[in-house]
Symmetry: C2
Subunit: 272 residues, 2 copies
């Protein structure tokens, strides 16, 4: 495998760019091919069978780009598809869920960890499974928060309505004496301030994007896959693909990225 | 064409069942094949190109079921795909948008009509175009309400948070002196009471599902396509297909239908 090959990163839509951004920050000389499945977003309440099919199509596409490793930036796809796909694949693959779980296991003192995520991620019990396999004494309390994604997408980040809904969702977790809370959906870190205010200082918030980049860096080193070449500009290093409406994506990407990205290209994901 | 052939009805997901239900009520001896694109729901903020592709795939599938006419129960797909698809098709097709527009044109006295819908439907300007072609003096004021669908799907029908969000969305329309408001998304009639309360008695709410069934009945008669045979049970008359998680669909369908439907079958829509 070519050390200069790119990392494939995929998500159900745009918010996985926060994971890509963290990889760019922590491993600045790795190339990235990002795919956002904007034609079929969201994944959160769809079945395992469908998410597995979508993920396999995306991975077939990313392989045509010659990627040397894959990062599932979407919590739902990590929860429902990673374990199956890992067995089928001849290159390394990691997902935000495992990284988030290992970070939470390190952070908790009282061994009571909360997880907020989409219905798909919560019902999969995957965070519970990973955390139990790391430390069987950890108790995991999950809560699906289906309105967080549309509220973020409406731009209602600092809004009394969002606070009211967050309070309802989080009250359940506040009564459970957790000391660590995993933000198990890539949109949720954007509500970090509201969540922090409701949960209080005694609860550590875990953003899996950070730990995913750490894990990727270690993995590339272990497998002798780290890039050795230097690149000069983002336009050479980063490529962005989507399944719907490339313009909308580029607008969002440019709002969260530290540089202007190349226009995203739209592809027909059904063909893969 | 066989008069006993079924009507094809499709939607981005489950809520188009409210349109199917209205057809069952008004034309009780017509057979129906319903398709809900639950793997790719929602359509509301996706591009015309993508919605057109999805609609063509669904129509190819419905034709394998031998349908004699097609009803687009989804406002977004009606707005973005009906005009193109009509030209390509050899059987009659109607959509909720045109039906809703013609009903609103009859209802308005002051020729000021409001429309609430998804971003896709509002940005398409299609209700405006249809209403202008019926009566060029009608002014149309549109407002996208992206949070209504997730709020309905969270079951927050009678909730102060929903009322607060509805008040924000509808304030804009209240200042525009409209006397008619089209509920331009199949989820919105479920919020009818809240919307009515905010808009007041002076505003007529138009639910396109009703008029769509009226239009279908007229169309079948005109084209000599009306069914002449009598059927005994719903299980013979109505078939339901989805692209994801058939069980979830059947649960919702049975909650709004006046009879227990046959289990929905899941198909792979990419293959069409």
């Amino acid at each position: 495998m070519d050390n200069n090959a790119p990392i494939g990163v995929f998500d159900s839509g745009v918010s996985g760019l926060t994971v890509a951004r963290e990889i760019m920050r922590q491993i600045p000389n790795e190339r990235i091919v990002y795919f956002g499945d904007t034609a079929r977003v969201p994944y959160g309440s769809k079945s395992k069978q469908t998410i597995l099919k979508f993920s396999r199509q995306i991975i077939r596409f990313l392989k045509t780009e010659g990627v040397k490793a894959i990062v599932i930036a979407c919590n739902t796809a990590s929860a429902l598809a990673l374990d199956d796909i890992e067995k089928e694949l001849d290159i390394p693959i990691i997902g935000v869920v495992r990284s988030g779980a290992s970070m939470a296991a390190k952070a908790t003192k009282n061994k009571r960890v909360g997880i907020i995520a989409t219905e798909g991620t919560i019902n999969s019990n995957i965070y519970k499974d990973y955390l139990s396999s790391i430390d069987s004494e950890i108790t995991v309390i999950g809560k699906a928060c289906p309105l967080f994604v549309p509220l973020v997408e409406e731009g209602m980040i600092d809004d009394p309505v969002t606070k009211e809904i967050a309070t309802r969702y989080l009250n359940y977790l506040r009564n459970e004496n957790i000391d660590t809370l995993i933000l198990g959906c890539t949109h949720y870190p954007l509500l970090r301030n509201t969540i922090k205010e409701i949960m209080g200082d005694g609860v550590t918030l875990v953003n899996p994007a950070y730990e995913t980049a750490v894990e990727l860096k270690t993995l590339l080193k272990e497998k002798n896959l780290a890039n050795i070449k230097e690149y000069e500009s983002a336009s050479v290093m980063y490529k962005f693909y989507v399944s719907d409406a490339a313009e909308k994506f580029s607008r969002f990407a440019n709002s969260i990225m530290p540089f202007d990205i190349m226009p995203a290209q739209q592809i027909n994901i059904d063909e893969y």
